[in-house]
Symmetry: C2
Subunit: 213 residues, 2 copies
DNA sequence: CGTAAACTTGATCCAGTTCAAAGATGGTGG
DNA sequence: CCACCATCTTTGAACTGGATCAAGTTTACG
């Protein structure tokens, strides 16, 4: 089963209990999962694709707050803190995900500490990620943020590396808190530091040099 | 006892267990509690004063990530996600706080769901707060962020209100992701919209007008 | 009261947004 | 398999919000 990150950390019984209440479904690109302010009744687990979670300002501009990919849980903070969704979620591309009724999850987690633990871990990671995004925004320039993203995503010994971006550049821009144009310019400035980009394919010639930017 | 927010939500037994392992202490202003990267062994609860949690960039600039006040728990995400502190914490003014050994907290939380629940709630709130800060930074100008802060802190019917800032302006600036100069300029621009500031004392003449900024 | 720290104000500078338009990509049906 | 079209991306130019640096000014507190 695909929601491995969730289920693999659970004992068989808890995993079974969760499987029992899971509803698997697919979403076309741009489909909205929920909107900020709506009553929260579902916990999601991304199986494939990417879900963008963002906030709106009064005149409709959007700011991405987190980008969830395969294995990620969306809405964990609502399991116990109930109430309403605090942001809007939208499929960034065709995606599949598992839905769990929040009330039932609450009930199972109350009985089974291993589930509560998995949820706490997910929440902790999300908090750490939010904090680094915040600090990143405030401390680093666009090329620095992009460099850091590239380093995190070839996470290596220091040898040259290459990989495919897992999603569109405009999505990456949003995740990094940039307008697409700014991301584009950042890439072209990094070209002078051993970064080659063709479509979604990225080559990093010298990770050490990137780290020094 | 002062750590009310923590203890009041616990059953007597859990509260007693936590009291038993608590160590109360005071900190002078500017004292460091822990640094990013250090092994995490303590959970903190602020009893009085304010603790600034921030990240550093390579050349020493700081970005505040959260400001914790009376009743707040610091380090909850480490209870289960163990490991190391992911940011640095410093007393922003003379403060008192309770320290709890993380291993022991882990052990108690494993036994007592009510403690686990309190921790999850704290974590959820912190995540929601981090997300709004992130979106706020990305969507709003300095005067807008300040206006929002003022509204949140007189949270009222729409009548004129006044209150005392709970800490120095430079701290507030950091919390809002601004340089102190930018906060100062924001205040003086808000003067034209019914906001009067003298020292730490703030008057908001027309909350409705602020909301429209 | 006097001194150190906090705050304000002014001037300059720069990163990143916005708007506009050209250029690349990739998925689709013929 | 190729051509086509919508969508995404890049590039350019102008603008702007906020950072930074440098003085002054006020505040708090011993």
């Amino acid at each position: 089963m695909l929601s491995s990150r969730l289920l693999s950390q659970l004992g068989v019984e808890s995993a079974a209990a969760m499987m029992e209440i899971a509803a698997i479904g697919t979403l076309p690109a741009r489909q909205i999962l929920f909107r900020e302010g709506e009553a929260a009744d579902t916990l999601f687990c991304v199986l494939s694709g990417y879900i963008r979670v963002y906030k709106l300002d009064p005149d409709g501009r959007e700011a991405d707050v987190e980008l969830y990919g395969p294995g990620d849980l969306i809405g964990v903070s609502l399991v116990f803190d109930g109430g309403r969704y605090t942001a809007t979620a939208q499929a960034a591309e065709p995606s599949t995900l598992a839905r769990f009724d929040l009330k039932r999850v609450r009930e199972i987690a109350g009985r089974r500490p291993d589930l509560a633990l998995v949820l706490m871990n997910a929440l902790s990671e999300q908090l750490a990620s939010a904090y680094s995004n915040l600090a990143n925004d405030r401390l680093h320039t666009a090329p620095q943020r992009v460099a850091r993203y590239l380093l995190d995503n070839c996470a290596h010994d220091g040898k040259a590396a290459s990989f495919r971006l897992p999603y569109q550049k405009s999505l990456l821009a949003g995740k990094l808190g940039l307008a697409p144009e700014a991301l584009s310019r950042a890439f072209s400035m990094l070209r002078g530091h051993g970064v080659n980009v063709r479509g979604r394919f990225v080559q990093v010639e010298d990770p050490e040099a990137l780290r020094r930017i």
